[in-house]
Symmetry: C2
Subunit: 247 residues, 2 copies
DNA sequence: CGGATAGTTGACAGGAGTCAAGGTATGTGG
DNA sequence: CCACATACCTTGACTCCTGTCAACTATCCG
């Protein structure tokens, strides 16, 4: 659970760090620089570095000075805040193409702790690069606006489906949401450790475990590999979650 | 609870409608057009109208074509979505200076239902005006970005303090949040009807009523006028909600 | 003065947290 | 390859929180 980070470094250390190749990036269409053309990118983005990060690594911690925004090329990241009792609370889960730390960039410090939930491939965009580009390129702002809109969409789905109702409806909703975020097919959804799922739902691990057990017993969820589950399509009808446990 | 709106109109009808005077608007600094100078405003914003709206009026409904964004000059508005069981769920509460419907403006239809919680004074900015201005004024986009950031901030506080834990901590947190949004002093917070508060917290009205009763019994909440309560400052230490009911 | 809507309170039942014990994985070192 | 340590997950028993149902009261209007 405890993640490792070199405390002497102002920022997470990448494994296999290298300069980014934004022009040929597979996720460019969905990333921040979608609006900039190839020539612009090639010329300006020397400051952006790309690298790998191991599962459980803290990318940044709440309160750290916000020096950079990260773009997630691959993997899944959790943003952790605290609830009223200082218990950890996962506020968002981000998948491929997400911008991480955007909400902090002009606040000075990061508003949450970002932790890798799998091995990741991400790009670090220094604050300075982002600001100087932003001043000159309205197109970048459009990209930012898109990110904010996505953010709003997810927050509301989060509140509407993950924070209300009985556990027996929220757990399946979470599984489906995770499948969607990570891009996994329903036949092989990779689930995080249960304490993470509990921190998303704001429930106890035991409670979560019981619902999962029941889903398995009913044949709606089947373990196909470590951390990987195949879930029945009836598990939820999208948009409107029915209670598959009949509780 | 059911609010009235003229179904034949494509949009909410204002009482006392008139052209807006954005240049002299008291909340301009916090509104969308903060970045535009007075001359620009005066010249371009003929399309923006200002008007009053009665408490309980539906400003727009989920699924309506998104023709306009509204800026709230005064009052409080709730955005209502539905949870997994189709029960109403209040996703956000907006106060003075807020932009309403922003998240829908390029989605075609509104993503929530917006309802006046008090008598309001608001401005209607047609989609077309917003888009044409946006194309020419990067500064407007900065204003938009600010709105999105505020949105993110509130969503996360919402999830962190209103969706987790026992009712006895969440109810006081809600009261304080409402005071902050509406700008009321703690000595005279105007609270909405209890079904609204219950829809924010995702709990039953009865449950809410019990917590309120206990707060009153403990002298932490005192009714000073209809809908208006004075709450003790110990009721919550900001940022970190302690359980004032000791439950 | 009714009639409607909103809020309150009690009794009860079911959901969910907590504590404690045992089980299963995953990884390390011999 | 096995033994062991550690973390993670599961299950049961118990208690407390919270929703539901129902009756009652308060408030607001015309």
């Amino acid at each position: 659970m405890a993640a490792s980070r070199d405390p002497s470094s102002p920022c997470v250390t990448f494994l296999k760090e290298r300069e980014s190749d934004c022009v040929h990036c597979a996720i460019r269409a969905s990333a921040l620089f979608a609006e900039l053309d190839a020539a612009e990118l090639d010329q300006r983005l020397k400051a952006i570095h790309n690298g790998l990060v191991r599962s459980n690594t803290i990318i940044y911690s709440k309160g750290d000075p916000a020096e950079a925004v990260f773009t997630l090329r691959n993997g899944v990241v959790k943003l952790v805040g605290a609830d009223a009792d200082d218990a950890p609370r996962i506020l968002r889960i981000l998948g491929r193409g997400a911008a991480i730390g955007l909400e902090s960039i002009d606040g000075g410090t990061y508003a949450h702790t970002a932790v890798a939930m799998r091995d990741l491939n991400l790009c670090r965009i220094p604050k300075s690069a982002l600001l100087s580009l932003g001043g000159q390129h309205p197109g970048l702002l459009t990209g930012l606006a898109t990110k904010w809109r996505e953010h709003a969409y997810w927050s509301e789905r989060w509140i509407g489906t993950l924070c209300t109702g009985k556990q027996s409806t929220r757990v399946p909703a979470l599984i489906c949401l995770l499948a969607e975020i990570s891009g996994d097919p329903l036949s092989a959804v990779r689930l995080p450790r249960s304490s993470d799922m509990a921190d998303v739902l704001g429930c106890s691990v035991e409670g979560l475990s019981r619902r999962m057990a029941k889903l398995k017993r009913k044949g709606l969820l089947r373990r196909v590999a470590p951390w990987t589950y195949s879930c029945a399509p009836e598990l939820l009808t999208w948009g409107r979650v029915v209670d598959p446990l009949g509780e």
